[in-house]
Amino acid sequence: MSYKSNNTSGQLTGSQIVIEALRRENTEVVFGYPGGAIMNVYDEIYKQDHFQHILTKHEQAAVHAADAYARSSGKVGVAIVTSGPGFTNAVTGLATAYTDSIPMVVISGQVPTAVIGTDAFQEIDAVGISRPCTKHNFLVNDVNDLTRVLKIAFHIAKTGRPGPVHIDLPKDVSADLADFNYDQEFELPTYKPTTKGNIRQIKAALKHISEAKRPVLYIGGGAVLSNCYEDIREFAHQTKIPVVETLMARGIMRHDDDLLFGMLGMHGEYAANMAMSETDMIICFGARFDDRVTGRLDTFAKKAHVVHVDIDPASIAKIVKPNYPIVGDLAIVMKQILEHTKDFEFNDYTPWVEKLHGYRKEHPLAYHEDSDRLKPQWVIQRTGELLGDDALISTDVGQHQMWTAQFYPFNYPRQWMTSGGLGTMGVGLPYAMGTKRANPDKISVNFTGDGSIMMNIQEIITCTQYNLPHINIILNNNYLGMVRQWQTRFYEDRLSETNLEIQADFTMLAQSMGGVGYKVHTKEEFDAALKDAVASNKVAMIEVIIDRREEVLPMVPNGHALDEMLLLEKSQGAK
């Protein structure tokens, strides 16, 4: 134990226990913000040198950064905040991670146990607030319980369906003394996630898949979380079954894989949505039939049988009842599947794959070039050409997010950090920060919009301070673009509160916080700016003036079937 105990009995304070537990969990970085109720812990942070502490400018950004650290590395992200407003600022971060099943431990200070319930200064019922947006939470009333809580919190965060765990730590508990032994086992009789799939069910599913005519692999974020993309690629290539990915699963297949027909759903590729509409066998690996994926449910995949593999039993048959429900960790189930794949003679799916290629040829992902204005899709494609696999891509939420999901050439999982389930604007910059911290050798790029970027803009200076350079590419259309698109399509173009004509000078904004800024109107300017930004090794803001009225297409309007897509009108110059 590295701690010199400050009393004769060899005990540690609650704060020292927190530090020791983080060390034992191999935490190398903590994002956070101090305050009254958490000061004891911060005093111990000052004294230790096991992990780096990154002081953000806002608690929300601290939690988002820890979230991105987890997304991009697969490790558990850690954030520490104070009580009251410190905690409430962290809630959006917790909810964002919860919806996308990201493993995190967030520790908040709390007022001393003696005054809990008295409406003390900076007191709020933190566990009451975090309950619906965490996998589990704890209020630690007794320092003798703290080691157990910390160890269990990390265990729960990263096992089963991962998720954020919140620990609320009263100030007196962080000062009290207790024995510390992190090696002891703590029983968790009520928490035993299923990991292995039912082998009979797997074999029955494989048999049915092998006899299907038009099967499709529908891959979700669970495939990223369980780190099994190689096995999924292997299965797809062995069986020649075409693949579609959800927003969260980008990168599971290489973007140029012949079997990949892109992202499906509301802004999915035509071929992907047609595959889902015409398939007779959906093989769902770690996805959850979200409403943004299925479109109108009573017309969804009418002809299909369903195999659904998920670690969370509650995700199975929540929206779509599968013929073959398989509860288990996808990484283990994929091994089981591959072990038995050769036992079955799979149909020749070539005609089906050819048909999908036909659909792709008919309506490829495309946009119309315009000689006067840059198109956002071009900017994303171009960035992909220039940076490719060297870049890890974050986004905020809105049109730019969908364009990036559609047009960036993702080639491996954890290359892509985006708020899929909750759709949290403002995550982009802290995501780029956390991603860079976890992956110092990669180029961290944040595609963002002129709306989203302002929601956590203050973090530029954090990234300057801690030397976490990254590149923010602002696709500026002077609108809250996605809402504007809906207003145009479904509200007769009444642009209620979406016009952002008055804006900050992003170049000066970046410069004022130690970064570099560029304002770009042409392709040549963009290329030059991107190269310069990479070379600068600073926080960069590349503001790209794009066509104000560019839309995200295809689009399945709310309440419509997946094959009822609004498509790009064909004309000259579609790319």
Partner: protein
């Protein structure tokens, strides 16, 4: 093949659930929050510790279509402090009611009715009498309806406890 919208029966059914939970970490509020957050109904809820263990038993009566019940059970199981959820098929159910009626009413009539529902007069004061009965929930319902004519001052029900036969 699949019609995903109607894959379960649409008929609402009453479900008796026993939820075995660890006595820790504000577990009751987790359960109640789950019902309110996801829009599920609770018709009856009782909680008591299981003797000589670190567990409590929560008995919940809920009404919903099969699809909703299925989700309720899965979501309950997903909560970290929940050990198991029992969906009762053939359970003995008991509910207790306390009814306070003014002393002016005919006590011998009340006593006879109470006894018909396995009940009895529990307490008599100078202005009121308290009777109790323990029986199956639907019989307690009837008992309460019958007692309405004695102009009860107060009615308290315990909620249902259940045990599989």
């Amino acid at each position: 093949m699949n019609n995903f919208k109607d894959f379960y029966s649409k008929e609402e059914k009453r479900e008796v659930l026993s939820v075995i939970v660890i006595n820790r970490e504000s577990v009751l509020s987790r359960i109640v929050d789950l019902f309110s957050a996801r829009g599920y109904n609770i018709d009856s809820l009782t909680v008591a510790p299981i003797p000589n263990s670190e567990y409590s038993r929560i008995t919940i009566i809920t009404v919903g279509v099969a699809r909703v019940i299925d989700q309720i059970v899965k979501q309950l199981n997903k909560l970290v402090p929940v050990l198991k959820v029992i969906e009762h098929k053939d359970a003995i159910e008991k509910d207790t009611v306390l009814i306070k009626v003014p002393i002016e009413e005919n006590l011998s009539d009340i006593d006879v009715i109470a006894r018909a529902y396995n009940g009895a007069i529990q307490n008599v004061t100078h202005d009121a009498v308290v009777i109790s009965a323990t029986d199956e929930p639907h019989r307690i319902e009837n008992f309460v309806n019958i007692m309405a004519k004695y102009k009860p001052l107060e009615i308290v029900r315990s909620g249902v406890v259940a045990m599989e036969r």
